[in-house]
Amino acid sequence: MFEPIKVSLESLNLVTLAPMLAAVAGGLLILVIDLINGKLHKSFYVMLTMLILFIDLGATLGLTLNERGFFNVMLEDGVAIVSQLLIIVASMLFTPLALTSKRFHEYSYPEFFALFLFMVAGFQFMVASDNLILVFVGLETASLSLYTLIALHNRSNSYEAAVKYFTMGALAAGFFAMGSAVLYALTGTIELAQAAEVLASRIDNNALVLTVLGSSVLLMVAMAFKLSLFPFHTWAPDVYEGASAPLAGYMAIVPKIAAFAVSIRIFGMYIDLGVEWVREMILLLAVVTMTIANLMALVQEDVKRMLAYSSISHAGFIMAALALDTTEGAAGIFLYYALFMFTNLGAFAMLWISRHKVRRFNARFDHPYEKFAGLIHIMPMGAVIMALFMLSLAGVPPFSVFWGKIYIMQAAVNAGLVWLAIVMGLNSAISAYYYLKLIVYMFLKEPVKDVDTVYYNLSKPLMAVIGLAAVATVGAVFYVEPLISYVYFMISASGY
């Protein structure tokens, strides 16, 4: 007979689950409320979502560092906490962007917000575990919600985007699962901490090289897909183009933070074990990604698509930090995202406020460069802020992204990879071109049409979000110090 399973509540340590639970419960709550009263305005749900995220944030902040829980599958280490915080803050920035002055299809469904919260929970699961099952489940939860959110935008492009993302995502999921299987075959466990121990004893066994190779490559493909690294990035521009601007901006940050957290755990393990080729692979991916994406961004005609390539390039940049496998490198990843988050969301929000129901400038694109021609005359403040975002993305000091860039470049130098730092520098220079192109259009060209409506969607909440992003972008120099010390402390505390 089976023994009755006795699990004490303390040993479960449910606190470690509290943040995700808050999000999941919140999502369910929204669904229930919708059942009770289906006529509530989107602003209600937006605010409710914000509150739920706030609780989530509180729960995350309340976590004790390096605690395990729930049958030891939860791991709330520094990486987990920092990435959860970033995910939640980014979500909180994203949510109010629903409050546009014009109506959009997706926000009329309360399910949108529920799915959104499920997605957040999914990402949180993903980062807060070193158990590959949970990572996989979190990944899929978040991804499936995300596909749906994209499709909800209700444009033919959105469906196309959703399908592309979905299909490739499914393939990546296959790779991930297979990779996990190989790792499992190799070590007999799917908990990374234990796997590392087992691997350490077997790593010198030449017969197993193929297996190590297989597991790392399969997992790498899956992660590279999530991180949109070349040549697994192909979905990204199309999906960004098809998705609504805020969601595109969001996608450039949150899923990648989550994927990086997982990557740190997985590939950090390999590199720590002395599997040098993983480092080589990462470096190669990073360099190729940042370069090719940059070059492709050069030739784009649409700002949103350009920003899509630019965020691919940024991901490549950050990927390089992963290869370093130093505390600074890992801290650099989160620092970079923390700084990049505001600027990037701000930039996409600027696109969002200029979104029209019908395309006025170009048959295909919503945000061709021409649309922003002469913006300085139409909307001076908007042009200046957008220019700030662009300069920040280009890495012009003292704006936020610059600090992330030099931190990672410094980390690369410290790790002895000066050439990498130079490649990063040169790529930043190339990238400056396409950011400048937008500035040139905004400041140095005359408006093409008499455009009453560049700021079509503008509303107070959007202004607030953009204003906040702008302040965070400009004033980065004042909060970089605490940010660095916090992130660095958290990362080093979790042993990376």
């Binding site: 040549p231 080729w277 080589e280 190669l284 070059l295 961004a297």
Partner: protein, 632 residues
């Protein structure tokens, strides 16, 4: 006495600034008067200083203030009034004063009257700085200053258009001005290098400190310094091969030619050699080179003067030739004789130029002596002046030129450089010939000008009076040779003829005199009765060669100016645009093109995307496998 030094120095500056105040206004007669008076004051001060130095035999040194101080280099604005500089000061201010007064008449109708005086006085100031400075850097200030003033004054009539070289060998005043400036700059680089050598080897640029250090320096350093400084001198004194600018400089108003391009500025090179005599006397090879070059230029310039038809150019060539004499003397170590000839030459050459100015004035700026003739009837005084000056130039006793030039030729003999001596003697004959060819063609013979419709007239009386000091000096300056020698050899090394030479002195003098008189007689025979053109002679290659200045200007144009312009153009259009800039743009275009190529992988087709993923996976596997194989 210090005050006098400053008065002598700054009166011209004040004069220049005063005139500059009215520089853009229509003619103001008082500007000419005031500047002339200020120059006169400067002359008086110089003369008093000369007397003071003569009587007390001591130099006056003043330091105005620091100029440049960096590292170990310290250059003050320091001035010294000693035997050499005071001679120069007196000569310069005297000629300047005369020229200023003269210009009142000459520039009477020019609308830029005030501006002219401003430039002219500025020149005098620069020249004073040049001669009075107690260090090489100060000398260089003056050196460049006179260069700029010369540029301004040659190009004074800047509004004249460029014409072809056939029409006017100088092309245009502005062209000539630029040519003069740039050629001088080439030499100035040599001068600068000389300064650098001096500075790094002696640690100073002060004359006294530098000269005190000289014995401690190696021969090669001394040679290098002497050569570099002499290159500087070659430019300012228009020695071959940097001589072409001087004749072109005749585009400037004639008073300018008299002051700058005959009496003062062009002698700056000679002055430099005299000033730096301790250096040059320690470098016999360089000194000998100077002498040889000087002799060559004396002959070379005289040869070109033989056939020239341009009134002012003939005088310019003669200036060049006389500068050659001075360098010959200085190169042979007879510094005081060089200085003496410099002073004497200043007087009679200025006089000659001013006379030429009178002629030009009378002939509506016509310069072709073939179109003149018989002017003596209307321009008696000018004829007298120019005749006197030419006699002095030709070296006929008892005029100034005889004493100074004869001494130089004697020096050449004394040094045993008989070839130089012979050339100089022949040149003396040529000098006499071309001087009087010019005088006779201008003033004697048939009145050819009538054919061209000129109505010549004598210039203002006060102008003629103003010229008289020069005329007097041209006549009598030679008599002071002995006292001059005693005066300047306080500072300069003495130079005595050997016993042997001394014995032959009368014979040597006679030979020179014979050549000179022969030249005059020849000129008289050919030209005094009127112009008979010898077509056959004019068609010969050597006549053409001389008339075209040995084709040197053309040579410079073909082999320097034009290639320079061409290479510049190639550098710009081919190298800078097509290579350097195109490389930069090429990199950008390459990146852009790569982007354009790379975006083609983004077909939009999901199936391709999925294939890319698979390809990526395979590639990753390959990379991992390869690096695993390599790293192990």
């Amino acid at each position: 006495m210090e005050k006098l030094v400053y008065i002598a120095l700054f009166a011209p500056l004040v004069s220049s600034l005063f005139a500059a105040l009215f520089g853009m206004m229509p003619k103001k007669q008082f500007v000419g008067v005031v500047t002339s008076i200020l120059l006169g004051i400067s002359f008086v001060a110089s003369a008093i200083l000369a007397h003071y130095v003569y009587t007390t035999e001591e130099a006056i040194k003043v330091t105005l203030m620091d100029w440049i101080g960096a590292g170990d280099l310290h250059i003050p604005f320091g001035f010294v009034v000693d035997q050499v500089s005071v001679t120069m000061m007196t000569v310069v201010t005297l000629v300047s004063t005369v020229v200023h007064v003269y210009s009142n008449g000459y520039m009477d109708h020019d609308k830029s009257f005030n501006r002219f005086f401003s430039y002219l006085s500025a020149f005098v100031f620069s020249m004073m700085v040049l001669v009075m400075s107690d260090n090489f850097a100060g000398l260089f200030i003056g050196w460049e200053g006179v260069g700029v003033c010369s540029w301004l004054l040659i190009g004074f009539w800047y509004h004249k258009p460029d014409v072809s070289r056939e029409e006017n060998p100088s092309i245009s005043p502005s062209w000539a001005a630029n040519e003069a400036f740039i050629m001088n700059r080439i030499a100035d680089l040599g001068m600068l290098v000389g300064l650098f050598i001096v500075y790094w080897n002696t640690g100073s640029l002060q004359y006294d400190e530098v000269f005190a250090q000289l014995p401690h320096l190696s021969g090669s350093v001394l040679n290098a310094a002497a050569l570099a400084l002499f290159i500087g001198a070659m430019g300012k004194s228009a020695q071959f091969p940097l001589h072409t600018w001087l004749t072109d400089a005749m585009e400037g108003p004639t008073p300018v030619s008299a002051l700058i391009h005959a009496a003062t500025m062009v002698t700056a090179g000679v002055f430099l050699v005299i000033r730096a005599n301790p250096l040059f006397s320690m470098t016999p090879e360089i000194s000998y080179f100077i002498a040889v070059l000087g002799t060559f230029v004396a002959f070379f310039a005289a040869s070109m003067a033989l056939v020239n038809r341009d009134l002012k150019r003939i005088i310019a060539f003669s200036t060049l030739s006389q500068l050659g004499y001075m360098f010959a003397a200085a190169g042979l170590g007879a510094y005081w004789i060089a200085l003496f000839h410099l002073a004497a030459h200043a007087f009679f050459k200025a006089l000659l130029f001013l006379g030429a100015g009178n002629v030009m004035h009378a002939m509506d700026d016509e310069l072709d002596i073939f179109k003149m003739g018989g002017l003596k009837k209307v321009m008696k005084w000018t004829y007298l002046y120019m005749g006197l000056a030419s006699l002095a130039l030709a070296g006929i006793p008892p005029f100034a030129g005889f004493f100074s030039k004869d001494a130089i030729i004697e020096t050449a003999f004394n040094e045993g450089t008989y070839i130089l001596w012979a050339i100089l003697v022949v040149t003396a004959g040529m000098t006499a010939f071309y001087s009087f060819r010019q005088v006779f063609l201008t003033f004697e013979g048939d009145e050819r000008y009538k054919k061209y419709g000129f109505h010549p007239h004598e210039v203002y009386r006060y102008v003629l009076i103003a010229m008289s000091p020069l005329a007097i000096l041209a006549v009598i300056a030679g008599f002071f040779k002995g006292s001059f020698e005693a005066f300047v050899t306080e500072l300069l090394p003495e130079y005595h003829m050997s016993e042997h030479t001394h014995h032959l002195a009368w014979l040597l003098g006679l030979v020179v005199l014979a050549f000179a008189v022969g030249g005059i007689v020849l000129a008289y025979k050919k030209y005094a009765k009127g112009l008979k053109r010898d077509e056959a002679l004019e068609a010969t290659w050597y006549y053409k060669l001389l008339a075209n200045q040995y084709y040197i200007p053309n040579l410079y144009e073909e082999f320097i100016s034009k290639p320079y312009a061409m290479i510049s153009d190639i550098f710009w259009n081919r190298v800078d645009m097509k290579i350097v800039d195109a490389t930069v743009d090429g990199i950008a275009k390459f990146l852009y093109g790569t982007g354009d190529g790379a975006r083609r992988m983004q077909t939009g087709n999901l199936s391709n995307y999925l294939n890319w993923m698979a390809v990526g996976a395979v590639l990753l596997l390959a990379v991992a496998a390869i690096s695993a194989a390599i790293i192990g």
